[in-house]
């Protein structure tokens, strides 16, 4: 029964900050084994939605079901099966990459030898094995790689990723994309936000576009593009027109 349930089922989800609705009656169903792109302009409510899905912040109203389990009732069970790459850094700056990965593995219930072995393999994969510096000294791209490795270490069924490719070089981004595609192939679900629409266009099966806390369009990639437009054209048309900057005389 649980395996038949969608990876994500969100009903009438709201998050209010005073009178301002960051997420305003969101309804969303993400099937299992789907590579799902969650798009929207800055401040549309993408990160807030991911934070609610991970239990980091409570919703004002609405319901969330992940992998057939209800949040917050089955919070710990859900968390065990989620891999998270958030927008804010979740890395402890005063650990090395290897120490951090081993720590995360143990937090997800892996025995220390297993966590250490997986940590080594992942660091090797992300070309960070030889780097014994503290995470505080990592570049932005290296930090993202470690965050991605941390989301993989416990072999989750659902990945929630907020701008996972931000700051990552082309080689690293290709590697991350290949890994994610492979995860989908084995049956995992990816739910990611990204402002790089070409990446979303190439990777995702389905896409939802959110604006001002509401889903304004959802469907498969082909349904969205309609055969003639690019994803960027659709996105700009749905969430905002070109700005007329020529009016600023002093900028000329």
């Amino acid at each position: 029964m649980l395996d038949a349930a969608p990876a994500i089922a969100v009903h009438d989800l709201r998050k209010l900050y005073g009178d301002n609705a960051a997420v305003d009656g969101l309804n969303l169903v993400v099937p299992r084994g789907c590579f799902f792109g969650f798009l929207g302009p800055n401040g549309a409510g993408k990160s807030t939605t991911i934070r609610m899905l991970t239990g980091l912040i409570p919703p004002s109203s609405g319901s969330i079901e992940l992998l057939g389990m209800r949040l917050p009732e089955q919070e710990l069970e859900i968390k065990k099966r989620i891999g998270l790459v958030p927008d804010e850094s979740l890395l402890f700056d005063r650990l090395t990459g290897a120490e951090f990965l081993e720590f995360v593995g143990r937090m997800y219930g892996l025995a220390r030898p297993v966590a250490r072995e997986r940590s080594r393999s992942l660091l090797d994969l992300f070309e960070l094995l030889e780097n014994r510096k503290l995470i505080a000294e990592y570049s932005k791209g290296m930090r993202k790689r470690v965050a991605m490795a941390a989301s993989l270490i416990h072999h989750p069924d659902l990945f929630l990723m907020d701008e996972p490719f931000e700051g990552v070089d082309a080689v690293g981004a290709r590697l991350m994309k290949d890994i994610l595609t492979d995860q989908v192939r084995r049956g995992a679900t990816i739910f990611l936000t990204s402002h790089v629409l070409e990446v979303v266009e190439r990777l995702c099966d389905r896409v939802a576009i959110i604006d001002k806390g509401k889903v304004v369009r959802e469907g498969s990639m082909d349904e969205l593009r309609g055969g003639t437009e690019s994803l960027e054209d659709v996105f700009v048309r749905l969430v905002g027109a070109d700005r007329e900057f020529h009016e600023l005389e002093w900028l000329k």
């Binding site: 980091l56 989620i82 850094s89 143990r106 219930g109 014994r132 503290l134």
Partner: protein, 537 residues
Amino acid sequence: MIRAILRAQWLSMRTFRLASSRRGAAFSLLTGIIWYGFWAFLAVVAEELTRSAQLREKIQAGLPFGLLGVFAYWQLAPLASATMGASLDLRKLLVYPVPRRALFSVEVMLRITTCAEMLLVLAGASAGLLRNPAFGAWRSLPRVLPAMALFVAFNLLLSAGLRSLLERLLGRRHIREVVVLLLVLVSSLPQLLAISGVPMRHFRQLFSASRNPFWPWVSTANWLLGAHLGSGAAVLAVWTALAYAFGRWQFVHSLRYDVEEAQATAAGAKEPSWTERLYRLPSLVLPDPLGAIVEKELRTLSRTPRFRLVFIMGFTFGLIVWLPMALRGRPAHSALFENFLVVVSLYALTLLGQVTYWNSFGFDRSAVQVYFSAPVAISRALAAKNIAAAIFIFLEIAAVAAASTLLRMGISPAKIAEAFLVTAIAALYLLGLGNLSSVYYPRIMNPQRVSAGGAARRTQGLLFFLYPIALLPVLLAYLARYAFKSQLAFWAILALAAGLGAAIYAMALDSAVHAAHRRRETILAELSRGEGPVVAE
């Protein structure tokens, strides 16, 4: 430009205040009222002492020492408490075409954050002098006002220079530990000299107004009281000019200072294997996730410059208190001496609080979300952080006890065991309160910076009022020992204190866990927020 910088800071603070909880704001207000209320009281005392015409001679003799006290507090208290106040975040401002003079002016003004209490005391003393007919009462206004203003300027400029210098020195790997040791030695020099037999009259002569009119506090006093008016003003003006030159020089050096370069580890550097084994020890007895979090805390804290500074201070202050006694031979068996290891241990417990239990998630910053997103109960995270804090506190006690034993201080194993036990019992109360403070009043701490900001100092001030209350059950046990001259009374009350402490710790942890769930959004927001152009942790 100065106004733009200050406005940006005001807006940043305003945004933060709006976002933070009412409870946090209330706590902040409470700390402010208690701390500055205490100093306002001292200002009233200063006013009372300086306004009486009958005390003319005493004022003449005592004012230089009072100003010396103000000077010492102004310059040394930020070092002793490792809270050097707010400062400009130059990394955010150097990209703009702001003249150095403007940046330096703001930096000097920010030194007020470390000494607002001294301004209160000086204002009290000034008010007293202006009402004292022996020194001309209100007619002395044209003399008192510029003298006080220049004395304040001198202190501000000097503290700006010292702060820049120390921030750079303490930011450098390997050098900072040596600097801390030197600072501790310097600050305890008077005690070392006094105990080593140097007569006190030498100190008095060194600082006496009649013999040394060139000290800034003496020249200020001379100017304020109308004695040697011209020379007093001239000497203070020279001191202020020197402080300005020193402050500017150090500030310009800081502009070129790269904190990340100074703290970078060598490529491929690996810690010795024995430290690795030490970090893993708790995991031998504690199951995961408790063991994993304790291990992570031991690693991260021991690599955090700010924590290391405080840890070294706790250890060295403890030792420096012992060392003069060792040099002098065994002192009389006073109550203080007999319980000195306990006193030093409790001092270490309170000092380490600012970097461990009072704000457990401060160094984690936005990474605190790991505890909320991983399948781990938050109670485990808090308990693990408490265990890690306790390990460091016991390491500190063990180090002081070992050094004392090496110095043949005659500390019995029973006394060492007593120090550990008493500290453990006191820790139950403080860790319980610390857990509540960590979830109700979380704030980011920058692990790179070795000192805390001005508000942190005020909070510490409040904590020093709270510590006696938290330590009361343990103090009662000692009171019983000396009042009844009975070991049985001591151990009986200590056992009661332990039971009560355990109950309070359990209740506080439970309450903190509920609050953490309820307030997780606020906690994450507080620990992920950005800062304005002024760093004021």
